[in-house]
Symmetry: D5
Subunit: 149 residues, 10 copies
């Protein structure tokens, strides 16, 4: 019987590895994007009642997980160091909340390595939206693999 969302998250992480499920499979089963799905499976988002059922089945979880997956969790994975300025803070929060999902996704697609912040480009523009304009960002960084030596 799960006692906290953290316990459910740990169970999902290890179950996915044992069952050799890719995150892409998981996202398809739930019907959401990759980033959101991984982020939610890693304990940062709530699932709807229906989604929670899918998650419980997919990972063979104890039924007590169902309710916990629908309760708003404490979010964020960084420990200290947030910038003071509100605009910069939200970019930092983006990394704190979605960072583990980003890491999983890049490793699933490319293997062990990093996205370069040196061989890198970025642009930022306006995305017109009747519900309020949006900031649109494009980032491109070379993937650099770790190689055994």
């Amino acid at each position: 019987m799960f006692k906290s969302r953290n316990e459910v998250t740990e169970a999902i992480v290890i179950a996915r590895i044992r069952k050799k499920l890719s995150w892409a499979d998981v996202a398809k089963a739930i019907g959401r994007s990759d980033v959101w799905t991984i982020s939610a499976c890693l304990g940062q988002m709530i699932f709807s009642a229906d989604e929670a059922k899918v998650v419980v089945e997919l990972f063979d979880l104890d039924d007590s997980a169902t309710a916990l997956l629908q309760v708003v969790p404490y979010k964020g994975t960084f420990k200290g160091g947030a910038p003071d300025d509100p605009l910069l803070y939200r970019w930092y929060e983006m990394l704190s909340v979605y960072g583990p999902a980003i890491k999983e996704l890049i490793h699933e697609e490319f293997g062990d390595g990093i996205m370069s912040a040196i061989d890198f480009r970025m642009n930022i523009g306006r995305e017109v939206d009747p519900a309020g304009d949006r900031v649109h960002v494009n980032i491109s960084g070379k993937f650099l693999p770790y190689k055994p030596f």
Copy 2:
């Protein structure tokens, strides 16, 4: 006579405001993208000899700035809190190095406010490149303006 790159940066910041130059104007004069140009003007990148001349003229800087603008600076603007994991770190470095440019660019385009990390979506994919494949990221966050009350 400038004694450090920091002094040049401070001079550029105040000169741009006094001369009512937009960052878009500056980028056009230098012939680079907005993000890179602002980042370089804010002391994170080196300029080529030709670019340095343009910068000195554009902002009416003392000629001693020319050499300093071509010397590799100490980069980064965050103070502590970097994540341990190398993949996550490079995203953090991206904010530490380009964060002030991101802030300037969004404020120039949208005014005072923030890019929401709540009304937000992101996807990550592979960008095939003969020189080595790249990670491509799309981010879209609603702009939320500060309103006086």
Copy 3:
């Protein structure tokens, strides 16, 4: 048999989810306001003997919880970063002590999301009181929901 108030708090948190009790139900059963009730259930306040009995029954707790619920706990949930100034500190303490209750209450009423600090207004005034005048504060911030993508 509970060994500390923390263990009682953890039991309350999970029991409430399993029994699908709303915080509003809990507050009604105890006869106190929402904010105070949640704050006390989360281990920040002491209950009277009568209230402790209600809590133990409501959440089917082991009887050893009764005494622990009446012992003054170590309070506060933030970890470092308190401002030096005594006036500002007390606002910080308010968040440290009541923050988890605020989080529960907003999520119960609005779902997953945040209260905006950008689309936000606040006023502060004097509340005359024969037992000593009070500072009265009104805050209004737009609720922004997390949406899956």
Copy 4:
């Protein structure tokens, strides 16, 4: 000639004291609420072109302040310690951005002292709004004066 918004802020702080202007007077002259006005004068908000002129005249500032008062500043006054959770963070940001204004306002109204976080009550509710519902918060804390001894 001002070189940064910080220098303008310092000039405003000392000019207000020398000219014996109350913050209420300043807010009236600018035509905004007390909290917003103080916050903006202390360097956390931008002024419109018209407001900037009023500020420059009111405090007899050098004309170079006019442009600086309209440039989005780096905001926030706390140094580290932000909570990880996005909901709690925004309350922390509220204190980091508006805290100095809160301090000024309470001291102007009540003198030296603090708003108690012990003799304190708070409630939180929904404020229906066609542009999106809002979280409404009422806080009442006893004012406790410092007394010389």
Copy 5:
């Protein structure tokens, strides 16, 4: 069988609550002052062999506690932030070592609440002593109770 002084301390804390012993009772049984007794029971001081026996009986502890209660413990309960200056440090150490005892004592006498640092006075003087003069300090702070709301 206890493996460390910390385990003995935790056992004392919970046994006192279960047995409904006041700290005043404990101090009387041991024959020491309230502050010292609580401080020692909370793991900051060593007991003599005779005192250790009383403690073990009073709280029905396993006999293995007897030796541990006579071994000098690691003291101090604060985590970082000590002032550099030696005179100020010793006041800080006083809080770090005796703070938990102060907390227990005030709550036992007054209930849940705090000693005000605003409605507060203090004086410091010389206490002549043939074994070396002493600094004598008198502090008086109003007790402010937490009230449920």
Copy 6:
């Protein structure tokens, strides 16, 4: 012309040494206790208009100090490390606000050295007061002088 309370404080500190005034003389001139007087002179408290005049004369300060001495300052002298618990915090705040005054007072009375936290005793009791009972604390610590060697 003083630009901040900090500048006034620095001027008082050095003027007192040059004029060879004891803190006891200063307290007598102002008509307050030693602890409060030193604390106020060191920038932690506000003076009344009459007291501010005395201070300005006593230390031959520029007249611009008069207004600054009556404005509520940012208080506190410690930098980080405040305990989370509200009761313990207020003792910490006592040291943060009055610590420099305590240091001056002990050095004026005893010379260079410290108040021992080892050869030390303390008791805490109730002080009945019609305006609300008070916590009364007595502390006695041996003075230990630094000796040159």
Copy 7:
């Protein structure tokens, strides 16, 4: 059944000591360099499927380790203090990722002690490489043994 890579790492560390395997033996069995092998065994790198099998056999691990050894881990072993500058950071990351392997290797070769940073020399040069030139570093530091006394 292993629940995380950390558990696998702990099992490897103790198994190597019990089986009296040198790291050189382990590296030979896996067919990689010493530094890389130790680093991977200590949880910083992924093994290929074949290498994972060798590791599981060599250390008599439960078969559930096989999958975990192929999953990209959270890397890095330092806790805070990374320099801001990207060039300096990568040297710091080198220590954070490979530091434990460096420690094992030097102790295996030389016993308990340290590599001196005082009796020390270093040079840095260019290593021409058709796939992109490399920075080549030579470091030589005297080994200083701990001696019992």
Copy 8:
């Protein structure tokens, strides 16, 4: 007239840029290796009397620098985060003391960019030495240039 070694260091840094001297030129003039020379010029090492004269002439420094260049400085450039273990610490110290020299040297040879810690290899071995064996380290990391975009 220089008042501290820091002032001398700042003067050297800016003089080298103005005079367009390479670090290789400086090292040749002084007759030491590149790493040591840069490190000493950046304030981490002492110069002999003869070397100090060369430095003063080379950079046209005020004669008061001569004595300061021969006084042992406070060394180290990192701010916190040193690992506890003595072996690991000395590698960290190596970066703290020689890091700025490493940065200068790589930028002088390769331009703006970093030495990769991903496309990286390292080996460690014994260097027999009659005065006590030494640890020998070879590191090779690909240079990655920053490119404007």
Copy 9:
């Protein structure tokens, strides 16, 4: 069966108390000095094979401790705060590595209390040694006992 050196250290600490062995007895049995012996027993040094056997017998440890006592441990007991300067750092390291042994030794000889840093003297001189001269330090500090009150 011990899984780490830490577990062995904890077993030694409690075994010594239960068996009422003094550290002086332990040092005699092992044939080393008090400081080194305690330091090694507390997990900071390695034992030779013969010494490890003595330790295992003396404290009735499980035989699996024998190998662990001969493996170089992670050393150091302080958590952050190391000074940057290499000379000062090594004094700090001395405290971090030998501090727990110093604490045990002073308490064994003098009981609960501290070595004064106020009633204190120190001298430092050269100790000529053919293997390289040594720094010799003499420290004398008054012992101050804690007294119950």
Copy 10:
């Protein structure tokens, strides 16, 4: 005219270098031990009126230094990281207060380098004293010189 003890300390530091006075000369002129003298000159101790005169003459200081040298300073030179335990803390304080003097003394006697904490021995014993027994400590560490390369 000196405004603080810090300014006097800085003047002493540079005057000693310019006048080529050794610390041994200074100690002889003042008539105290090396450690105490350097510590006092570096701003950690007060001088008597007579000693202050000698210091002012020796270093050709402005007469305003005389009073400042007799006022108890804020002591300590470390910034954070003090251990919690009172016994360990006093050793840390010893380094914080006397560390800069230790550094000067070792460099004056041995040149640039460090006292090894590896090739190191220490013993601790009782020094019988009618005024209260003392802890006596002997430390011997090999001097390791920095050598240019």
